[in-house]
Symmetry: D2
Subunit: 98 residues, 4 copies
Amino acid sequence: MAVVQFTIVPLGTGTTSLSAYVAQVHKALDESGVKHSLTPMGTVLEGPLDELLAVIRQMHELPFAAGSQRVMTLINIDDRRDKTGTIEQKLKSVHDKL
Amino acid sequence: MAVVQFTIVPLGTGTTSLSAYVAQVHKALDESGVKHSLTPMGTVLEGPLDELLAVIRQMHELPFAAGSQRVMTLINIDDRRDKTGTIEQKLKSVHDKL
Amino acid sequence: MAVVQFTIVPLGTGTTSLSAYVAQVHKALDESGVKHSLTPMGTVLEGPLDELLAVIRQMHELPFAAGSQRVMTLINIDDRRDKTGTIEQKLKSVHDKL
Amino acid sequence: MAVVQFTIVPLGTGTTSLSAYVAQVHKALDESGVKHSLTPMGTVLEGPLDELLAVIRQMHELPFAAGSQRVMTLINIDDRRDKTGTIEQKLKSVHDKL
């Protein structure tokens, strides 16, 4: 199990707004069945790493399908093998110490 | 107003757990008065950019004060001047399109 | 063709040095045949995006095979479809304007 | 001494090309006297951390001055206190192990 954040940034779109692209990604994620969470600076996924990377790869295509010619995608993988790292566990670990 | 995510990663600590460091940062942020939000992969701040960068600079010192010898800090700044970009506005813009 | 930077960070290793892990990645990249370049903060690859992501996925396993229990991997994809984006072209575009 | 990579991404510019913005940053860095290196995916600086962050903060304003209304800036700080971490030392440490 891994927790992965990604941010997809279409370049040269002529508009400063990205929310339409983000909404498109979240509709596709809802259909994908992958556990996901929207944060102010990206989308966080949880699950088997190969599955998550395949999903992000698909999401990366969405702005191109919508007409973009250049897309920057940032991915941050947190992969832990000594215990099951999940979104809930990560947040709970911090809250328990507060 | 900017929205900024940061993630502080102490290296070579001998433990795979980072939650004690994250909790320390959040206690300091609570005292700072800066608007902040904990996400599974980092902390998101909102406010005047110079103020946020000064706060992150202070947070970056915390692991050193706790004994770390090497710290990697990732910062992602989203700075918008055509409208007031806030955490709430960013999330709302996406939800309105879902 | 895409240009992709990645940085693999093993956590909790007990040593502040990362160069042994980076060297291991570069030996594997030399054998892979993928075009790659070492920079001070990461490794840059050039090629078809699916191929690059598959290579990074393999590299991400190397610290685990060497005993790490938690690995953070950062990936930054620059994918351009209106022209062939390569490492050389990107650097040349900037130098031509200097 | 820290080594810091940053990438400045103006959004909504209407052009997929970023090289004019990168060139502008490098002209300013040449005048600043800060040690810097252009890589395919960002700019790497070396020096006292506070000085580097102040420089990046100035560079972040350049696209706004050129008419951009939204700028995303990515910063990756590698700060080491057990030895002097420099661009040259980081690359040499890896090459010595190859």
